[in-house]
């Protein structure tokens, strides 16, 4: 891992679905070791931004830099190999495989068997819920357990950047608290940089170091949580 201060940087990013522009002139910086929140209402372009970072949506204009390397035209699997992992509602678990197989699939790029075993043991320790269900099909897990599995699967790679796309979607409040606790723990104890893409504004600002607010495909405000709270931008009924 190179020790540049800036982990992910995007400059004037434009994307579109066919003719409909989705992101317009999006520039943001993600520093190493911080939790960065991307907040916005439904349809603001949050998920599109995640897809653009992963390379599933092509950038029409603008550049994207990860660890000092230009990744604007890099295919998705290479970006993942470079150390970006995503946890999201869309990229779910593989329902027809056992939990253990799912976990190990997360480490598809790790070919060293010994290292893999170590990482798996670590994952079982951090997520004891999963250890009880190793030989169960992932499709039979509850929503919360599935989110845990997705997080564990992403963390098994020790990614440099972990993107969480609405991890709290459709979960019970108590599980949501648990998810945010894990997010904070991963950041504090494992020094993982996390990009938190969320609708739950209050909780997200509670754990993050910096935040961007995105509306209609544009970043309309950025700052640390206090600044965002003071700015009153969240009082806008569309945002809450």
């Amino acid at each position: 891992m190179s020790k540049t201060d800036l982990l992910l940087e995007s400059n004037g990013l434009y994307t579109s679905y066919g003719r409909i522009p989705m992101l317009m002139d999006v520039s943001f910086r993600l520093r190493e070791g911080e939790i960065c929140a991307i907040l916005g209402a439904n349809g603001a372009g949050k998920t599109t931004l995640v897809k653009a970072i992963l390379g599933m949506v092509k950038a029409d204009k603008g550049t994207m830099t990860f660890e000092g390397e230009d990744i604007t035209t890099m295919p998705t699997h290479k970006r993942v190999a470079k150390g970006i992992q995503v946890v999201s509602a869309e990229t779910g678990t593989f329902p027809k495989m056992t939990v253990e197989k799912n976990l190990r699939l997360g480490a598809y790029n790790i070919t060293d068997q010994k290292l893999l075993e170590e990482r798996c043991e670590e994952a079982y320790e951090s997520f004891p819920v999963l250890k009880e269900r190793l030989h169960q099909k992932a499709g039979t897990l509850s929503g919360g357990e599935r989110t845990m599995l997705a997080i564990a699967r992403a963390c098994i790679n020790k990614p440099d950047l972990l993107i969480m796309d609405e991890p709290s979607l459709g979960l019970a409040p108590i599980v949501v608290d648990e998810v945010f606790r894990i997010v904070r723990k991963l950041n504090r104890e494992n020094d993982m940089s996390i990009m938190l893409v969320e609708q739950n504004v209050v909780k997200s600002l509670g754990v993050s170091d910096y935040g961007y607010i995105i509306q209609k495909g544009q970043i309309i405000f950025e700052g640390n949580p206090d600044q965002i709270n003071e700015s009153g931008i969240l009082d806008n009924p569309v945002m809450s």
Partner: protein
């Protein structure tokens, strides 16, 4: 009688744990399968259909105890014994058919369809891309052999090599548009390719047009003709016997490779692409490469089946490799069980035998054929021997430790 055998075996294995987990059980299983195939192929249509029906029902009933999965684990654990005993029985099998020309023909067809289905399974089963053009791939293999031997006077083996290469290239070319299309659209693309292929060979005079190319030279191995009547121990054998032997060797080889692929990283990648393409991509799997691999290896398998088919019939024509043949291969894969190498071969055997046995009732053939499929899809939509849940232990061959074993038992 064969059913009784099966039950005996089961009771035996249940009583004694050690026998259950020994090479002996594998050989017993192989022997039972051998006898089943023998009786199904040899008896006349009524008996053979009855045996097939009874066996399917018995397997479905017995499978409540998860027997099929247990047998599979057994085979994987005693891979060598299974392979060697299977090969020996496979070599004995053709000779047991003796001078029954028709039966030998059916048996060879079934084996060739088995190879084609293994190829189709890479696409349909493992990667979940329904390819409606397996017959076109077979056709490419068959026409390569035919052109090499009829038009150029080359050895059919060179034709086979060319067929394998060509069908692989063709698979790659078909695979390219599939990177852009998914689901129904992909099926439509392959369907169009199948229809285009049949039309193309029909109107192209060089390959014989409607009449096809006949007089394809038979395969020879070191001067030993593989399609000829031989007399062994005073029994006159039907001409297909040595050829059947060759096909069985190819089938065993293909099944082995297919299993290796299934348990490899690529095999896992294919399964993840089938279940969730985006998630697979996020795991760092190269989705395009995986899809292309499925098309190329599947194409090569089907091409091999085609080259063998041309050698069996001595003829390659547009009617043999039409859309209907493609549908039949797809039905075989669905019936046998998608994403399970053994399953698709079983499906190919069953449908090939049913189709041929019902030749006498040409009017009802399609009807019964359809009825079998409808019933199977209602009773057991995953096929007779369905896909297995991907479990980790079997892949790395790591033996589970005692705690895990206890846990496994308690779950069962």
């Amino acid at each position: 009688m064969t059913i009784m055998n099966r039950k005996d075996g089961k009771v035996n294995t249940m009583k004694n744990k050690k026998i259950y987990d020994s090479p002996f059980a594998v050989i017993l299983c192989n022997l039972i399968l051998f006898l089943l195939v023998y009786f199904v192929v040899m008896s006349d249509y009524a008996v053979s259909l009855a045996i097939i029906a009874v066996v399917i029902v018995a397997v479905l009933l017995v499978n409540r105890f998860d027997l099929i999965n247990k047998i599979f684990d057994l085979y994987i654990r005693h891979k060598k014994t299974a392979l060697i005993s299977g090969l020996i029985l496979g070599i004995i099998y053709p000779f047991s058919l003796a001078d029954n020309v028709y039966v030998a023909h059916i048996a060879t067809l079934a084996v060739i369809y088995g190879i084609a289905c293994l190829g189709l399974n890479f696409q349909m089963g493992s990667t979940d891309m329904t390819n409606f053009a397996p017959a076109a791939f077979m056709g490419i293999g068959a026409y390569s052999v035919a052109i090499a031997s009829v038009k150029m006077g080359l050895s059919p083996w060179i034709g086979m090599l060319a067929g394998l290469v060509l069908s692989g290239v063709f698979g790659f070319l078909i695979g390219l548009p599939t990177l852009k299309t998914k689901g129904y659209y992909l099926s439509l693309v392959t369907m169009a390719i199948q229809l285009a292929f049949t039309e193309l060979v029909r109107i192209w005079p060089f390959v014989g047009g409607d009449d096809g190319l006949s007089g394809v030279e038979r395969y020879k191995l070191f001067g030993f003709e593989l399609y000829k009547r031989y007399t062994i121990f005073g029994i006159r054998m039907s001409p297909q016997i040595p050829y059947l032997l060759l096909c069985i060797v190819f089938l065993v080889l293909c099944t082995y490779i297919a299993m290796r692929v299934y348990f490899s990283r690529t095999g896992i990648a294919m399964n993840t692409v089938a279940q969730d393409e985006i998630a697979a991509n996020c795991m760092g799997i190269n989705v395009s490469r995986t899809k292309l691999f499925a098309f190329v290896i599947g194409g090569i398998y089907c091409g091999l089946a085609g080259t063998l088919f041309a050698g069996l019939e001595g003829y390659a024509g547009p009617a043999t490799y039409n859309f209907q043949k493609s549908l039949m291969l797809i039905c075989m894969v669905i019936l046998g069980g998608m994403d399970n190498s053994i399953g698709v071969v079983v499906g190919a055997f069953i449908l090939a035998i049913i189709t041929e046995k019902l030749r006498d009732f040409a009017d009802f053939q399609q009807l019964i054929y359809g009825a079998v499929l409808v019933i199977m899809l209602i009773v057991r939509p995953d096929g007779i021997i369905p896909w297995r849940v991907r479990n980790h232990d079997l892949i790395t061959k790591r033996t589970p430790n005692i705690a895990e074993k206890a846990q496994l038992k308690s779950e069962v």
